[in-house]
Amino acid sequence: MQEDTDPQKLYSGPLVAASLSLLLAFLTLMVSHHISRLTRELDNIVHAYGHWIPGSTGSGPDGSIGSYSGKETLALGVWLSSWLIFHFLWRRQELSVRAWTRIFVIGLLAITLGFFHPLSDPVVLFIAGLFGIA
């Protein structure tokens, strides 16, 4: 895909674009997940984004994935659109991969801990309190 350029001249921009968009997608999953847990109305808003996914609504023994579908949809949207934008912005951009590797791994770790409710719930409730929700 780089045939038209000097093979020795590589830019790290596309690498950062591909991985930064992942962090943003995972962050979207986390934020939408915590938002959906606050109130019934917020859950419905998140859920509405996922109605296109088969099995996103319904009850009974077969169940449905509920608002999980909306969280996935929002994350997919953020992932693919931010990847596209950053990729074209940074196609010819050199960024420090050494520094980015560190930020990427620490960022992933932090987001992962954000899905661990005993740790994240107090923080979420504190922030929600500031906005007067829940």
């Binding site: 895909m1 780089q2 093979p7 020795q8 590589l10 790290s12 596309p14 690498l15 591909a18 991985s19 992942l22 997608a25 995972f26 999953l29 986390m30 997940h33 996914i53 099995g55 009850s59 009974g60 023994p61 077969d62 169940g63 449905s64 994935i65 509920g66 999980y68 996935e72 994350a75 992932w79 991969v97 050494r98 980015w100 590797t101 990427f104 791994v105 992933l108 992962t112 899905f115 661990f116 409710h117 005993p118």
Partner: protein, 192 residues
Amino acid sequence: MRAGDYSHDHFGKTVIRIQVAIACSLLLMLPAANFFYPTDYALKAGIHGISAILAVVVGTYLTHRAIPLVKGMRVRLESLRHWVAAATLINLAGAVSGNWIYMRYRGQDGPRDWILERVPNFHNVLMEFKEFASLFPFPLMLSAAFMLYYYGASLQFRHDIGRFVGVTILVSWSFLLLGFVAGLILAKLRFV
């Protein structure tokens, strides 16, 4: 022994291949048995189990291919990117089938109801974590595959980029393992 030299004789390779084949077949029998379980959701459970185990097996193999990348050694790029592309597809299958079986998990009198009634923290903490951690390996593998195809053979000029791809594969595997173990615990606790 020179550093980075990896060589087995013919006999050694045969032994390793037979060992891998036996281990994989036995391991796959574990989720394949789901197809015969007395439940209406045997097909969904079997497909998710098989794609999850395959993803873990391929992901684990790839960690060994990732180490030379991290260390900046020469790698067989063609074979590596085929494996990473295959792992991407298997992880997609794992995520999609996971969504499929998750519907029944949340269904009326499904595992969620059962767990919430008896040991709620297995749902409130473990499952709430697992459902998201398990979504991570597919996009991580896809980004690793993208980098391997995008940078191609010129990767050998940039150890920092190779290292990042290696780290991405290792990170993807760790999420696979987290999701896999959590999934096993939940399936053992209450099957669909």
